[in-house]
């Protein structure tokens, strides 16, 4: 891709020629992309295109990769997941990964594990309050086991928990998965709201239309390669994207996604 040459200087996240492997199988085949401060960037693609693999490589969950991932001009190579959280990258994983037996409150507090110093106690309590403000339904269920929440509520909890580490960059992997359209809208609106407050977001979605409507820019990932990139509005209007993703997306939407 020509992206590496036109990657803006001072990008918050910059990925160059990334190749990821599962054993000997190559899941990502030379991807380059960048996310600037204050942007919502979306990465769309079909199932198995390598979207989640890319997210896991950024977060330190995947050890086998080649190329370069830089966050705020610091290379992330060799760093494990807990260190990368401390750098300011937080992931809302596919499948949410909440802790079902723990209460909603405990799930949120665990999100602030990197801030467990005594001096942070007050600001963590303030942030818990802010999350309950952002997602009022979580306040009603604060004492409930997280596993008893509905899918949408669990997704809100996962986002709230990821925000508790006060990230600079929030990564979301398929936040609309399994949710009703109304809930998808609500979550994407929340992301737009968070961006207004200065958060930078990289959003991975199969639900291409909804993602492109929210994002500033987008990349299309196919078989481990970026095949298209540009402003979200352009991608929405692109014939190829329409044919390959948006049509299918509409059908998926009406049939209900699993």
């Amino acid at each position: 891709m020509a992206e590496s040459s036109k990657a803006p200087h001072g990008a918050m996240l910059r990925i160059r020629n990334l190749k990821c492997y599962y054993g000997r199988i190559q899941a990502i085949n030379g991807v380059s992309l960048s996310v600037r401060s204050g942007e919502i960037v979306t990465l769309i693609g079909a199932n198995g295109a390598g979207k989640s693999t890319l997210m896991q490589a950024i977060c330190g969950l995947l050890s086998q990769w080649e190329g370069e991932i830089r966050f705020r001009d610091k290379p992330l190579r060799g760093k494990k997941a807990p260190e990368i959280v401390r750098e300011g990258v937080s992931l809302v994983p596919e499948g949410r990964w909440i802790f079902p037996p723990l209460s909603v409150m405990d799930n949120l507090r665990l999100g602030a594990y990197t801030r467990k110093a005594r001096s942070e106690r007050k600001s963590v309590a303030e942030d818990v309050e802010a999350m309950l403000e952002l997602f009022p339904v979580l306040r009603e269920r604060a004492r409930q086991a997280a596993g008893t929440l509905s899918g949408g509520e669990q997704q809100m909890l996962a986002i709230g928990r990821a925000l508790m580490s006060r990230p600079r960059l929030l990564l979301l992997d398929e936040p609309s998965m399994g949710l009703a359209p109304l809930m998808v809208r609500k979550i994407l609106d929340t992301l737009a709201e968070l961006r207004e407050k200065g958060l930078t977001i990289l959003l991975v979605e199969q639900n291409a239309r909804a993602a492109l409507q929210t994002a500033d820019r987008g990349y299309v990932l196919e078989n481990g390669r970026i095949v298209l990139d540009g402003p979200a509005a352009d991608l929405l209007a692109d014939q190829e994207v329409k044919r390959a993703y948006l049509g299918k997306d509409y059908r998926e939407f009406t049939e209900g996604r699993v």
Partner: protein
């Protein structure tokens, strides 16, 4: 009645020890899904360290207690670092066999360090035994029950009130999910080993004045603790406590009313019974419940 009360007292005393040992098994199991068969050796190391530090070096009891517990925790950390973490393919059976090997090693080291003879220490306090409705209650029994209650309270606080306790539970539920929140899972596993070794050492220290302390005392105590943990459902702290007390009391009543030669048999009959009735209880995916 007086006889029954007597057996109940001694049963509860032993049962509290079994409960503390079972807690050690349970804590490690719920954090790592590993049964550590060297747990009994931590009990032995705790008891023999106390023998050396308190009776041998004449250190004050609280200091001897703290040094023993700290030393055994370090042994627990070393076990995790050297023997468990270095395994390339950490299959559960491999790890369990490693702990069995570690227990044999620790027993050998203890034999070299403390010799083959048994040692004994005096009771923590020199208060004369209490007389309750004709039955005798040793002051050491009160120490044992009191410290057991304190250990239970401390663990309860740790799991329920501290973020580290929650993080340990989160790691046990989903290691990757915990890691993306910044929880270093290796350190949580190490902490679980250190804590379960410390709890084992406390059991050894408590029981030292009422038993003969030798390099081979750990095997039987470890198995009794294991029985207690299984009895209550491994991974559950309340289960460990209930299992320990139940085992102690049944054992004591069996000794008193049937035959003293049954003492050890009772634990294993109970274990067989549990395995027969609830076989999924051992390595099965039973739900993890803490306090």
């Amino acid at each position: 009645m007086q006889e029954f009360l007597q057996y109940l007292f001694s049963g509860l005393t032993n049962g509290a020890i079994y409960a503390v040992i079972a807690l050690g098994f349970s804590m490690l199991y719920s954090a790592t899904k590993l049964i550590n068969f060297a747990q009994g050796e931590f009990v032995m190391l705790g008891a023999l360290s106390l023998v050396s530090l308190w009776s041998g070096l004449h250190l004050p009891l609280p200091i001897a207690f703290l040094i023993s517990v700290a030393g055994v925790s370090i042994a627990g950390i070393l076990l995790e670092r050297l023997a468990i973490r270095s395994v390339r393919v950490p299959h559960p059976i491999t790890l369990v066999i490693i702990t069995v090997g570690a227990s044999i090693l620790l027993r050998g080291v203890a034999m070299l360090a403390w010799g083959k003879d048994s040692h004994s220490v005096r009771s923590f306090s020199s208060h004369p035994p209490f007389d309750i409705a004709g039955a005798t209650l040793l002051p050491q029994s009160l120490w044992i029950l009191g410290v057991t209650a304190a250990v239970v309270a401390a663990l309860h606080f740790f799991y329920k009130k501290t973020l580290t306790g929650k993080a340990m539970e989160a790691c046990a539920i989903n290691k990757r999910a915990a890691s993306i929140l910044g929880v270093p899972s290796e350190r949580m596993v190490m902490l679980a080993f250190a804590m379960s070794a410390a709890v084992g050492a406390m059991a050894g220290i408590l029981i030292a004045p009422v038993t003969m302390c030798g390099y081979d005392m750990g095997a039987m105590l470890g198995l009794k603790g294991f029985c207690a943990a299984m009895l209550g459902g491994v991974g559950s702290s309340w289960g460990a406590i209930a299992g320990g007390l139940l085992l102690g009391v049944l054992e004591s009543l069996g000794v008193g009313f049937i035959s003293s030669s049954l003492k050890d048999a009772i634990a294993f009959l109970l274990l067989l019974f549990i395995l027969y009735v609830r076989p999924s209880g051992i390595f099965g995916a039973g739900e993890v419940h803490r306090f």
